[in-house]
């Protein structure tokens, strides 16, 4: 039974690390896109300026409420489903 809990622990650690990395990646993509949007809308104020930074910061506040960042929580679901699937296919088929 101790091995089972160790498996759960390691799986959880791996999922947390991957979740954080993916979150950084998605936020980085979104910020890049927001900077592009700003430059397209305000060609006069294009480039890294205070106004663009404020715009990006404002737009990023609701990032955690978007569908994309909620789907990211699947990182904690899919591997566990895969493990349960393997247990089923190996032992009960």
């Amino acid at each position: 039974m101790a091995a089972f809990f160790r498996l759960i622990l390691f799986l959880l650690i791996a999922e947390t690390v991957f979740y954080l990395l993916l979150r950084v990646y998605l936020r980085s993509l979104r910020r890049e896109r927001l900077e592009q949007i700003w430059d397209e809308r305000h060609p006069a104020m294009a480039g890294n300026g205070a106004a663009r930074r404020a715009f990006v910061r404002r737009s990023m506040t609701h990032f955690d409420k978007t569908l994309k960042s909620r789907l990211l929580l699947l990182v904690f679901v899919l591997p566990n489903l895969a493990v349960m699937g393997i247990i089923y296919w190996v032992n009960w088929q």
Partner: protein, 188 residues
């Protein structure tokens, strides 16, 4: 330096291939001829090719373990021996704990040369006679004949998933190199 890097890259590729070849399931069409238990000495040199020692296995004082074996014959007449051990909750992640049932199934599917019952044995691992290692059988399916070769869906799916993960990590690394941690760290 260039040749050194190439050599390291090639060696790494070979290591990845060998790792996948060892750990992914493979299917073989065979006929089961015998099943038995045998006291097997698990030594330091071949211990990593057997189940971890805390997965329900019992070793005696001499370091010997009672291991279930399945003897088979391939359609071309060559023999092949599988072991049948629980993997438990540890590596490799097959989470197999029904080896007693699998052994009963294998015993039930034994057949002679005159009236063969062909089966497909899914297993992972390598048979290395000089190290006394055996692939671990994971499941057994009955087949209609010796020419039937079922598709190895499990290994294909795992390979595709691994490739997708590799592509994702590639993209993530490119994004990190391009922009650093700007999406994460608060700018002053």
């Amino acid at each position: 330096m260039h040749y050194f890097k190439v050599a390291v890259g090639v060696l790494f590729g070979i290591a990845v291939f060998l790792f996948l070849d060892y750990a992914l399931p493979s299917k073989n069409t065979v006929r089961i001829t015998n099943t038995y238990n045998r006291l097997t000495s698990v030594t330091a040199s071949n211990a990593i090719f057997y189940a971890s020692d805390n997965t329900g296995t019992v070793e005696n004082a001499a370091g010997q373990r009672d291991v279930r074996f399945i003897e088979t014959v391939r359609p071309n007449g060559k023999v092949f021996v599988y072991r049948n051990e629980d993997t438990g909750w540890i590596w490799p992640p097959y989470f197999k704990y029904d080896s007693a049932n699998l052994q009963a199934e294998a015993t039930n599917l034994q057949s002679g040369r005159d009236n063969p019952q062909w089966v497909s044995v899914t297993a992972y691992g390598w048979r290395m006679a000089w190290l006394s290692t055996y692939p671990n059988a994971v499941s057994i399916d009955t087949l209609a004949g010796p020419d039937e070769r079922p598709r190895n869906w499990a290994a294909s799916i795992i390979c595709v998933v691994l490739l997708m993960l590799l592509a994702l990590i590639w993209r993530m690394w490119a994004q990190f190199q391009e922009r650093g941690l700007s999406g994460w760290r608060r700018r002053p």
